[in-house]
Amino acid sequence: MFKLRSWHAFSGFSFLLVLLPLLTAVGAFLSYTEQAQWALYVQDSYTWRVIWFSWWQATLSTVISLVLALLVARSLARRPHFMGRWLMLRCFSVALVVPSIIAVYGIILLHGKQGYVNQLWHWLGGQPRSYVYGLVGILLAHVFFNLPLAARIFLQRLEAIAPETWRLSSQLGMSSTGLWRHIEWPHLKGVLPQLAAMIFALCFTSFAIVMTLGGGPKATTIEVAIFQAIRFDFDMAKAVYLSLLQIIFCGFILWCGLRLGRPIDMFASQGIGHSKLSLRPDTQSLMGKMHDAAVLLLATLLVLVPLVAVVIAGINDAWLQVLLDVRLWRAFVNSLWVALSSALLSLLMAWGLVLAQRYWRQRHRLAAEAVEWTGSIILVVPPLVLATGLFIGLRPHVDVFAINLYVVVLVNALMGLPYMLRVLSVAYVKVSSDYDRLCSSLAIYGWHRLRQVEWPILRRPIGLAMALVAAMSAGDLGVVALFGSPDIQTLPLLMYQRLGSYQADAAGVTAVLLLGLSLTLFLVLERALGGPRD
């Protein structure tokens, strides 16, 4: 007999929270299909260019990031005693939670018309050139984020190779090429398809980067074109058309990714870089040393230098004036609120879904899988598309600009949901298989079970996942720009405006504050919730 329990309500509420926005968005899209002038759109060469550019930049970003990451991971693995190794790996993990507007800012500081590269070029006698806006800048920014992500996963794989294998290879006298062919490549190729699919999806739906560094007719992606259709052209039907296209493409990319295997945990590589033993036989040659030096220098230029440039730009005389500005602190408080609410909401959604999943797993496998799919909706309906749907769907009923931040929280929580859900579900399966019998034999149920048994095991993954969601939400510049109104600011939005209005000093200080907020949120939540480390 079916008995209603409290978790049923909780679970149902989570489902509603996840599905309602989606249904609203889809409903809004469908209501526009009659107005849409399909024939006109299909003939529109601009739209075709946008579609082509979306695929092209994502392909290039993926290939470049992966190739560089392979080289960097290999060089890092070969140099366990390299002095900057710790710093580089630290920056690599930090790069995952750097707000995209900050990365863009760092890249402009380095590559912009008045940037360090052009200054050096000028000093050498060349004419300053503007190359950062457009494809080059977009690629630089995508590499900034995805090179560290992939390099960490590759390095983790390389460090997992048994010491015996290296000893064997040195006894067999393998050359560097032989090591690559017989040892490294077989260990790395397994993660490659999944990683490529993930990076491709991230780049394909990337918004803030393309909006700030691209945006012209030559360098616009579908995601940005949707934004432009709403904000600049006020052409809702076109936004709907592009949104539906984006949903089809994202669905296709996700389908390809799933065919390639189980998703990899992109943040699992926490404890890397500890291996101090160098057993490889190919580290001593001069060529090898020069090669590694060149690769690590390139990684430094691509990832570390933009971050350092942001910090340097933030140290200027304007700080007092900027910090005394009330708007800045309002934006700060808004961003903090968005970050914490998104993380909490994401956790609640995931928890509710996991409870349902646990219930269904023993009764109906398909239903359990459906739960996981529900949590991954955001992968098919990317944030800006979802926000567009909500914008169009809610506009007749409420003042969309007033509910700005709530939508930001909701969309960011949904963005974190796939990761949160997976982390939580894996941990729950472990708790179940390890302690279910013990708990029932000792009669530990309900609240006591949660507190005594589950929390100590779940807190570490929950801490990491919440820290990630919070940090990413704090730096989100997508939904907030779409719904943006002058009254409600967040730090990334403020940063974006100051970047556009040539307030260099103010932008610098704001950037450091935003970077600091993201990193602090990440570190504090991870430690506070995750508990003491072993």
Binding site: E164, R167, S170, Q171
Partner: protein
């Protein structure tokens, strides 16, 4: 003669110091408690670990009168065999053996015949095309032994090669190792925890304690020892 002249090295807090002479053409069992320095001895011999700075005459390693501690691991006349991870998982049994001859796997007809012979000797004829994951643990160690044969190095260094195997398999492998070493006149250093293996395999035992050679002698003598440390290691039953 295999000779280590006051070879020292420090790993973390622990200091190791080996001064040792062993006959060639024999199987020697290396015994001792966990962490005593058995594997370190083998790693130093193979060149996987570099000894600490050498004072004249000290820290040198000789094999058959030739100095080997100045050579790279790949140039030393020895082959190592570990408890696991001896094979490349993506390569067939045949390729794993071929790797012992040439790392680009391109073998001459004569070399191909060598590989076939070695496979035959370790009892894996017709298994050349299998992948390591299609083999049992014992078969995998046979492949590793086969590779040691095609490499034709006079000294085998085996670090607990059969510890992961069932007792019966272990006995088979012990016999195989013994036969192979006799046929090819190989010397072997075998790290083992099992006194019975030591007795069945080796004429000589080296007992290591606290990073040094504590005792050296024949395997029969070893089991009769009244030395407190050895008795403590062997336990009351032996």
């Amino acid at each position: 003669m295999i000779e280590l002249k006051h070879v020292r090295c420090g790993i973390g807090e622990q200091q190791f110091h080996y001064d040792l002479q062993l006959p060639e053409g024999e199987i020697v069992a290396v015994m001792g408690a966990s962490g005593a320095g058995k594997s370190t001895l083998l790693n130093l011999l193979a060149g996987f670990i570099k000894p600490d700075s050498q004072v004249d005459g000290e820290g040198e390693i000789y094999l058959g009168g030739e100095r080997v501690d100045t050579l790279e691991p790949s140039q030393r006349p020895m082959t190592s065999l570990f408890q696991e991870h001896n094979l490349f998982a993506h390569m067939s049994v045949y390729q794993n053996l071929a790797l012992g001859i040439r790392s680009n796997l391109k073998l001459t007809t004569q070399e191909q015949r060598q590989v076939e012979q070695a496979l035959d000797q370790v009892g894996l004829a017709n298994m050349g095309s299998r992948l390591p994951k299609q083999l049992s643990g014992g078969q995998r160690q046979r492949v590793a032994l086969g590779r040691a044969l095609v490499r034709r190095k006079p000294l085998l260094l085996l670090d607990e090669p059969f510890s992961a195997l069932d007792p019966a398999l272990r006995q088979d492998m012990t016999m195989l190792l013994k036969t192979v070493c006799q046929q090819h006149q190989l010397s072997a250093l075998v790290v083992t925890h099992e006194p019975r293996d030591a007795l069945a395999l080796a004429q000589q035992v080296v007992f290591i304690a606290q990073g040094q050679v504590h005792w050296q002698g024949t395997s029969e003598d070893f089991l009769q020892q009244t030395d407190a440390r050895i008795k403590a290691y062997l336990g009351e039953n032996c």
